[in-house]
């Protein structure tokens, strides 16, 4: 809105902008293009820029308007083709259609002497209110770095094809409100370019009309925070990229002066397309991260990526579970000192032990005296059996069979490059054959003592190749529980360690039912807040990208979640933060579908709920380098009537806001779950309490 007003600082500019948008909309409808592209601006913004640029250079007249309409259509067609083709390559279109159009217009109009389009000298507002513009400019003169400040503001105003301090100032303030990171990036990019020019003893000022400054700024925003996730690394990248932009700019300027054409944002376009394209071709995209889901704000790009990296590991790994039923002891973990060495170091050995730590009962001379012998071995995940080796006899206790090192073995293919191998199985206990499809948790064999196995145990490893004897690779197990005394610890995407007692999580029907929201169903809540009672409805939906979400029409709030069958977690929230849905989003940020004593589920929480906008704005400025604000989430089973077959589960949640690692704010919540689902939600934030009861 602010930007639109700024454009009306000149009447011609404003009118031209409007005309181009109307032309694009008519074209979209007339030629049957996807109309949603009009609303998100993808098909209009290049044409709009053409309008603003032409409006800034020519007087309004009927000739001008006809040329403008034709130019708009030309831009529109270029936009459709270029955006479509470049999107396939994962590249941004930026303002390429605009550049082609505007140069075409400039070059062609010089030949049409019949249509004299007169260049303007002054902006209309500037003509009407000269003092306003004067005073703003002179106010900045009192500062020590007035040249730099003038240059910065004027460069900023050049984004809208203008050249004055006031427009620059308004844009700067608007930018500051919209995005602290972008604002900081414009200054950062501008200064790098400025000092690079000074270093090479180039002359910066006379070239301002050629939009030197704003190319640096746009490049900084685009590569520092828009297409690349803002980080220390993205800022370091700019240190090299902005000077390249400067060289490019200087070179192109020399070339374009020959044709008497303005450069506009051409250097920015080239460098951004180049860098994004280059980064996309990397073999391993660690370090500099390209933004995968564009949030149209460097802040959101940064925070969402930072949280997603830590929170949503589950979406990047194939889910592998323990190949056992019940509680087993990890007798040798990764890099164990018996046999898990060198290329085979990422493996686990499991057996079963009694209270004394023994693996057998007396007399212990026979494999059958060992607790784990003949216990069922289950498939660690779904997949296809690619290799079965059977028929190797169990060893006598303390004997090893070095000829057939792995003994009876099953290899399951879970996906390209992910194979799991189960070894030392009991002879003739294997229930599957090569080519079989197995489900997670299906019994496929029994634990034995064949191969290099002095006593019965189960060897389990993940490998990249389908062969017996392949080397292992490091890959975490999805979810498992570690037993302490009489309670449990929950681990996600972690590695069981030697001498831990581990088990798979068994789904709890109550939890699974409570968080298994049925698509299309309405959940009606009676919400009591500050003595008032209101009703809130949640609808469970799935969008066209198969993302599940809860939508509350009364409060216009949406909470996206993932339920992978074992873990439920919220991914995102949009809308009214006074809603019950938001409270629910906070206190049920992450839940497990099992129910075990002592389990504490931890997660990160976005910090925005805890702090006021000013502190958050400060954080935004330095977020790419350091987070001094953090939010943490913790929930535990506060009351369970019976852990095996519960009919009542209460979960107590505490969310904490931390500043420099110190807890400064906290809020509590409780969820009560019965057999028909979530019955009650209590939320307490700074003494404000919400209590909600499920009505349907």
């Amino acid at each position: 809105m602010v930007l639109m007003l700024v454009s009306f600082a000149d009447l011609g500019v404003g009118v031209s902008g409007l005309v181009t948008i109307v032309v694009c909309q008519i074209c979209t409808v007339f030629f049957n293009f996807n109309r949603s592209y009009i609303f998100d601006g993808a098909y209009t913004f290049n044409a709009l820029m053409v309008g603003l640029a032409m409006g800034g250079m020519y007087e309004l007249s009927i000739h001008y308007l006809i040329v403008l309409v034709i130019a708009s259509m030309f831009t529109f067609f270029l936009t459709v083709l270029i955006s479509g083709k470049m999107a396939n390559a994962g590249l941004p279109m930026l303002s390429l259609p605009f550049l082609i159009t505007i140069w075409t217009v400039f070059l062609s109009l010089s030949n049409f002497s019949g249509i004299q389009l007169v260049s303007k000298q002054m902006f209309s507002l500037q003509v009407w209110f000269p003092h306003l513009f004067e005073s703003v400019s002179s106010w900045f003169d009192q500062f020590a770095f007035k040249d730099v400040v003038h240059l910065y503001l004027r460069s900023l105003s050049a984004i809208f094809f203008q050249y004055n301090d006031l427009t620059g100032l308004i844009i700067a303030i608007a930018l500051l409100f919209h995005s602290r990171m972008s604002f900081a990036l414009t200054i950062y990019g501008f200064l790098i370019g400025y000092f690079f020019y000074h270093f090479l003893e180039g002359d910066f000022t006379p070239l301002v009309y050629s939009y030197i400054g704003f190319n640096f700024m746009l490049t900084a925003i685009a590569l520092g925070g828009f297409f690349i996730v803002p980080s220390t690394k993205s800022h370091l990248l700019l240190l090299f990229v902005v000077p390249v932009t400067a060289l490019l700019l200087s070179a192109l300027h020399t070339l374009f002066t020959y044709f008497n054409l303005p450069l506009f944002s051409l250097p920015f376009n080239i460098i951004v397309v180049l860098m994004v394209g280059v980064l996309r071709m990397r073999y391993w995209s660690a370090g500099l991260q390209l933004v995968t889901l564009q949030q149209y704000s460097p802040e959101l790009n940064h925070y969402k990526t930072a949280y997603a990296e830590k929170r949503f590991k589950g979406q990047t790994y194939f889910h592998i579970f323990l190949p056992i039923i019940g509680e087993w002891y990890v007798s040798q973990g990764h890099e164990g000192n018996i046999t898990h060495k060198d290329g085979w170091k990422h493996a686990w050995d499991f057996d079963v032990r009694d209270e004394k730590g023994e693996t057998f009962h007396l007399p212990g001379f026979d494999v059958k005296d060992y607790y784990c012998y003949d216990l069922p071995v289950v498939s660690p995940s779904f997949g296809w059996v690619v290799k079965v080796l059977d028929g190797v006899q169990d060893n006598l206790i303390k004997d090893v069979n070095l000829e057939q090192n792995w003994g009876n073995t099953i290899i399951i293919k879970h996906g390209e490059g992910i194979y799991s191998k189960l070894s030392h199985l009991k002879p003739y206990s294997i229930k599957v054959k090569e080519g079989d499809y197995v489900r997670s948790g299906e019994v496929i064999a029994s634990c034995g003592s064949s191969g290099r196995s002095p006593e019965p145990h189960l060897h389990f490893q993940l490998q990249a190749n389908p062969y017996i004897g392949s080397q292992t690779f490091q890959y975490p197990l999805a979810h498992y529980l570690v037993k302490n005394e009489d309670d449990y610890e929950f681990h996600s995407f972690d590695y069981p360690k030697e001498s831990e007692v581990v088990r798979n999580m068994i789904l709890n029907p109550l939890m699974a039912n409570a968080f298994g929201f049925i698509q299309g169903k309405e959940y009606i809540w009676e919400v009591k807040e500050n003595g008032k009672t209101r009703t809130e409805t949640w609808n469970a939906y799935v969008d066209i990208y198969n993302k599940q979400y809860l939508y509350c029409p009364e409060m216009n709030a949406t909470a996206y979640y993932v339920n992978d069958g074992n873990v439920f977690y919220f991914t995102d929230f949009y809308g009214n933060k006074g809603s019950l849905l938001y409270a629910f989003y906070l206190i049920c940020q992450k839940m497990i579908m099992g129910c075990y004593k002592g389990v504490v589920i931890k997660d990160l929480l976005q910090h925005d709920v805890f702090f006021n906008p000013i502190i958050r704005a400060l954080q935004d400025f330095i977020a790419p380098f350091y987070h001094f604000l953090e939010g943490s989430y913790e929930t535990h089973f506060s009351e369970v009537d019976d852990y095996l077959n519960p009919e009542l589960i209460k979960l107590g949640t505490i969310c904490r806001g931390k500043m420099f690692g110190k807890v400064v704010k906290s809020l509590q919540g409780e969820v009560v779950i019965h057999s028909n689902g979530i019955q009650q939600i209590t939320f307490n934030n700074k003494g404000k309490e919400i209590t909600a009861t499920c009505k349907a």
Partner: protein, 452 residues
């Protein structure tokens, strides 16, 4: 120099059987200590006879049984069978180890409540439950295992009257290929009685059917029978899911696992032929896992095994009262342990060890109890070293049923102690006194005049 052991002379018939290189050795070693506590000292302190339990052995039994099942099936819950041994101290150990309570009478039910078991963790089983018992169980939200149709009707009426939906299971009996078939408890599977009961429950909608229960027998030597039972129970549960869309929360496979005792008439000893708990676990868990439950609908497996968890943790210590020779030349030894406190001697040949050092000679003897009754025979024939009056013996594997089935007859019942992990004995029950015995006796006024 140590004093040489004196043994009285014995008379043995000359056997001309095959020679064997081991000679005439006894099978027993002297048992002078139980879990580190001296037999003689305990007898001195608490009197003879004396029941002694080993806490370590009980905990080891339940833990290894749990391990055997939990490493084969994802959801397992043990319930302590009260009738096997309901000394509060013993029950508490099982509850500490996470077991629920399985009771078959109001007395046991109240005992479980008294032991701190919450009502919803007491399985109320058995054919005898009065209306008052059912109301109490409903009040405490205990799962009620229905045994017969009359109980089903009464429970439905009570539920209607109270307007609550009690949690129930039905007890099912079935042919699992062993003789004798236990068909006196519950509803028969093969004849359709079980389905009849299920249909009645589901049709009225007054009861909340959450479980299925079976108990195929006692001292079962064949794990396969449990496998068959498991399949049949799973078939019912899956059938109920399909027919009524109701998920059965638990399948209770009862108990009946054999202990290491030797049955009378058995050629081989119990320790050699009785299956490990793991073998029963394998049969049951395999049948349930392969039955075709959907992954999330796997019912919890309940086990009420009693005998196998407690029998070998109980010892009965006693003293030789006298030796005598019978008319046919057999040797007889009279103990202070009678069948009134060793009821299981009617069907077990208990293992008996002397509690002091002995020499290499043995003789066959009959062990009699102290009761002035002809039936009081502890072992009809046992090979023991010569024992003198005042010597002590230890009877093994008496943890199950001997306490609960013991009766006050002719003599008073002995004390019960438990030896903890530090070898310290603790009293679980004092020995009975005449006062205890007569506490509830009344003498009408007109009978109080004694002419002597």
């Amino acid at each position: 120099m140590e004093k040489k052991l004196y043994e009285r002379p014995i008379i043995r018939p000359l056997n001309t059987g095959l020679m064997n290189k081991y000679g005439n050795r006894t099978e027993y070693m002297p048992v002078t200590h139980i879990e580190g506590a001296s037999v003689k000292e305990m007898l001195k302190k608490y009197g003879s006879p004396l029941f002694v339990f080993s806490e370590r052995q009980i905990r080891e039994n339940i833990r290894s049984a749990k391990r055997a099942f939990e490493t084969r099936y994802p959801k397992v819950q043990f319930a302590w069978s009260y009738k096997t041994n309901y000394l509060n101290g013993i029950c508490s150990i099982f509850h500490q180890e996470g077991s629920w309570a399985e009771v078959v009478s109001r007395m046991e039910y109240d005992k479980a409540l008294h032991n701190g078991v919450s009502g919803d963790k007491i399985l109320f089983n058995g054919p005898d439950k009065t209306d008052a018992d059912l109301r109490e169980a409903i009040k405490n939200n205990s799962p009620i295992h229905i045994d017969h149709l009359d109980e089903l009707y009464r429970l439905t009426e009570i539920a209607t009257e109270l307007n609550v939906k009690p949690r129930v299971a039905i007890r099912v009996n079935m042919d699992v290929g062993v003789y004798p078939m236990w068909d006196r408890f519950g509803f028969n599977y093969e004849s359709g009685q079980a389905w009849d009961a299920i249909n009645k429950i589901m049709a009225t909608g007054k009861l909340n059917l959450i479980g299925l229960h079976t108990h195929i027998g006692t001292y079962m030597l064949s794990p396969n029978a449990y496998g068959v039972a498991g399949y049949k129970m799973a078939d019912l549960a899956i059938g109920i899911q399909q027919k009524f869309n109701t998920t059965i929360q638990y399948i209770d496979m009862g108990g009946g696992f054999a202990s290491k005792n030797t049955l009378k008439g058995s050629y081989l000893k119990g320790t050699d032929i009785v299956p490990e708990v793991a073998e029963y676990a394998e049969a049951i868990c395999t049948s349930l896992l392969n039955a075709g439950f959907r992954n999330n609908d796997l019912p919890t497996l309940f086990l009420e095994t009693g005998r196998a968890l407690i029998d070998d943790a109980g010892f009965l210590l006693g003293t030789v009262i006298a030796n005598k020779r019978l008319s046919d030349g057999r040797k007889a030894t009279i103990l202070d342990i009678g069948v009134n406190i060793l009821f299981t001697s009617f069907w077990y040949d208990h293992k008996i060890s002397p509690a002091q050092e002995f020499g290499s000679h043995t003789e066959d003897t009959v062990l009699y109890g102290p009761l002035c009754m002809n039936i009081d025979v502890v072992r009809e024939n046992v090979t023991l070293p010569p024992m003198n009056a005042g010597d002590n013996i230890v009877i093994h594997h008496v943890g199950a049923y001997d306490i609960t089935q013991s009766m006050q007859f002719i003599s008073l019942r002995p004390a019960v102690v438990i030896v903890d992990k530090m070898a310290n004995p603790h009293l679980l029950k004092r020995s009975e006194t005449l006062e205890d015995m007569q506490r509830n006796e009344l003498v009408p006024e007109h009978l109080k005049h004694n002419k002597n």
